[in-house]
Symmetry: C2
Subunit: 351 residues, 2 copies
């Protein structure tokens, strides 16, 4: 298994990125990680790990980096020798099975979408998945921002691909699929949601489809895969992060006010417990969000990824890039009902 890693992508690259690659290859004897980036800087980072199996950590030089704040498409055009484009070139040439980057999400998605040959057979538009917490364990939300003009067949495909991700990576057996909507009946929502519900009900996924999931229901975890269009998913993901940050900052203030009044030992325990709780929402464990629908695999990590997040992302990329996983997705997509043949439910009432 060969995965290409954008060594220059991430807020603190290349340090923790290279470190994550070293840990990943040390942990998986069959794994090669191709490091793309500034040769001298990557070499210098690798030199920190004299025991690293260098034969499985080849470097491909790329002189430039797409900045996190640059306009993605513009940056990709101007900086021809950037690490993201070089990494995708290896994917397109079939030299690697998967791609991982903690760099610009926009540049990663734009690079993927530039070339439909990189899509899995049958996929119309790839979608990004993100993990939300729930009372029953992690929930996969697709799409969180790759596709701003989703069609019903796209959301169906996200359900299929999100299920495979939930099974293979999160270990959920036969995950239930829900459709993000504003109410519980099929008639609720928009033309997109009505037609999507009809597709799920008509096809082989009908047994897994639990119908509409409202915003609040995500956290119940009855559906372990929730599909939505990219605009809604992106707002939901970022608002969720904002809400958690906000709440913890309020909690911190509250505790700062309380701590002088309670014994030091008790205070220390509470602070440690709150820190632990916050850490649980930081999702290092799954190492980033996959762009689902790519031949092989593509994982887009958070900019702040540390070595552990990168190591986990490489592990996830390896699992998703196997022929077994890709073939299962292709088979499930082939079995999808055709949107022309399925009548959507009648239009419903306003919420």
């Amino acid at each position: 298994m060969r995965i290409v890693l954008d060594a220059m992508g991430g807020d603190h690259a290349p340090g923790p990125i290279v470190e994550g690659a070293v840990e990943a290859v040390q942990g998986e004897p069959g794994l090669t990680v191709v490091l793309v980036g500034d040769q001298a800087r990557v070499e210098a980072e690798l030199a920190r790990f004299p025991d690293a199996p260098r034969a499985r950590l080849p470097i491909v030089h790329a002189a430039e980096v797409v900045g996190m704040d640059e306009k993605p498409v513009e940056a990709l055009r101007k900086k021809r020798d950037n690490s993201i484009s070089r990494s995708w070139a290896l994917m397109a040439a079939g030299e690697v099975n998967g791609i991982v980057s903690a760099g610009s999400t926009g540049a990663m998605v734009a690079s993927a979408l530039f070339n439909a040959k990189m899509f899995l057979p049958g996929v119309r538009r790839p979608g990004i998945a993100a993990i939300f917490p729930s009372h029953q364990g992690p929930v996969v939300i697709v799409d969180v921002g790759a596709n701003m003009n989703a069609r019903p067949e796209d959301l169906y495909q996200y359900g299929v691909m999100g299920s495979v991700y939930a099974e293979q990576i999160l270990g959920v057996d036969q995950p239930k699929i829900g459709l993000l909507n504003v109410g519980s009946e099929d008639a609720k929502g928009t033309d997109l949601t009505r037609s999507t519900a009809a597709l799920f009900r008509a096809g082989p996924m009908h047994g897994r489809f639990v119908g509409n999931v409202e915003g609040r229901d995500i956290y119940d975890g009855n559906a372990r895969v929730v599909v939505c269009e990219g605009f809604v998913g992106n707002v939901l993901l970022k608002a969720g992060e904002g809400a958690v940050e906000f709440l913890f900052s309020e909690l911190k203030q509250e505790m700062a006010r309380l701590l002088p009044e309670i014994p030091e030992e008790a205070g220390g325990k509470i602070i440690a417990s709150l820190r632990g709780l916050k850490r649980r929402y930081e999702y290092h464990e799954y190492g980033g969000g996959p762009l689902l629908g790519i031949r092989g695999s593509c994982i887009i990590c958070h900019g702040s990824s540390d070595a552990r997040a990168i190591k986990n992302a490489l592990r996830v990329a390896s699992t998703l890039a196997t022929d077994r996983v890709n073939d299962q997705i292709i088979r499930d997509l082939e079995a999808a009902p055709r949107v022309e043949e399925v009548a959507p439910p009648p239009k419903g009432e306003a919420e």
Copy 2:
């Protein structure tokens, strides 16, 4: 000022609803609250308050109630003598200035939309506002579910009406308006967001318009009014409630684990502090979400509203129903640029 109150709407109606009405009229000498509902039951509740100024608490009988779980439009058709329809009939007849209900949101919105004569002049589709917390104080989000097919001119109108609400009810001077989107540049997002941004930039609101607001930015509070289409807003609102509930349930478990290890007094203080924090997210203070764009005013309260929430909702309804507020909205809407005359920015890149 005369406000009609659906005495039968709400999880615990009519008890706390009638109590809230009594408190409201006792607090505001110029206020009359028309109670609509089962005459005998409302009378029985009123009898608990011998000091209540009964002349300012007239009752209008309605034999039926729309259940919270009923399909709104179907229920409104079947139950002709329901308290929501009877309340709207008083609005339509001009007998009251505003309407308040803690009953079915769907039935309240559907009743309002049935009759475009109830819309303020110039309003195409009313929108529901909800309050989110932020580091700079409450933020108004419009629309959270009244309009599933928003046009750019609708989002512009929500910005205008949300501003008036933020000024009059939240006391924010010249509130900044943001557009919910997936990135910071105007080119981001969908045709709807691009055209909406162009409208704000072209019209008299341009000085207040801060451009795109991402999900995370809501909590910064730089924009005190954030506009979006109803589908996105509804998902955002419910997901936000779900996230807060989820986080507090995790916190509760964490504290239950810790409490045996810390002194009882310290534990009590912490529990009280967390309860206080949670209560801050329950929005009783503003008494519910206004349906903006209605002649007079319309406040839709949470089903779990207590007397305090109803009292506050009646106060908000009174403030919003004044001619001064309505005239300001009408004037600001008249000054809106016409969508045909404004070119949207070019289509941008994928997120």
